[in-house]
Symmetry: C2
Subunit: 113 residues, 2 copies
DNA sequence: AGGCTGATTCGACTTCCATCAAGACAGGAC
DNA sequence: GTCCTGTCTTGATGGAAGTCGAATCAGCCT
């Protein structure tokens, strides 16, 4: 191993929350699935659509993608299980909305300070 | 389709950059791979380690994980190909450092305003 | 009840991914 | 040059993920 140039805290402000505190194994296990859920172009756009309004009906999401309704449902489930969104059926339609705490947790990790 | 309750821009400040401007198909294709790269607990911790200092030697990363050196290399390559880190060999050792622009792009998307 | 529409789940298929072991490559020390 | 150490690449494999079509469930409406 080479000699370290010993710059421990100096970098804490150079980048972001990622650098501020080391991500523990537990943190990584909790946060990685959220990043993973956003790591698909379809789901990233879905999350964007949902975040853009207080709540969004699945019936508006479906026609925005060239995918079967089953696949749409699958992706929404992935976002929900990652904790990024929540949903509720009201009568005929199902509505999804963003979970600000989850977004906040990811944002805090990446935020440049 | 249900009647929309027409709340177009009002939500732009309720959440984050995700909501500020709709993520286009091209944006999604560019940004999703970065989220995907962070969507693995091992890589998230690696990114955190690398971000914590100006640059980090692979020889310091390897012993921090209970994985073969081949697997370590594979994950670092994934981070590099996603544009999140860069690397350089200097003599015997290879050093990795964070790419602040990439982190900034993700941060801007999630930042709560 | 019966039928209709919206949404989810299921089964199957294909592709991608994390991992290891083993080999290849790079660079220093001798 | 020949070793040795550090890193990367390759090949193989088991498992996860994205997709579709079909079946199923939920809730209106007549």
């Amino acid at each position: 191993m080479p000699v370290l140039e010993s710059t421990p805290q100096s970098a804490a402000v150079t980048c972001c929350g990622l650098a501020a505190t080391p991500v523990t194994e537990d943190d990584a296990a909790r946060l990685a699935p959220m990043f993973k859920a956003l790591g698909d172009p379809v789901r990233l756009r879905m999350a964007s659509m949902i975040a853009a309004r207080p709540e969004v009906c699945v019936c508006e999401i479906t026609p925005a993608f060239d995918l079967s309704s089953g696949t749409i449902s699958h992706h929404l489930k992935t976002l929900r299980e990652a904790g990024l969104v929540d949903s509720e059926r009201r009568g005929t339609y199902v509505y999804y909305w963003i979970n600000p705490e989850a977004i906040g947790a990811l944002s805090a990790l990446l935020a440049v300070e």
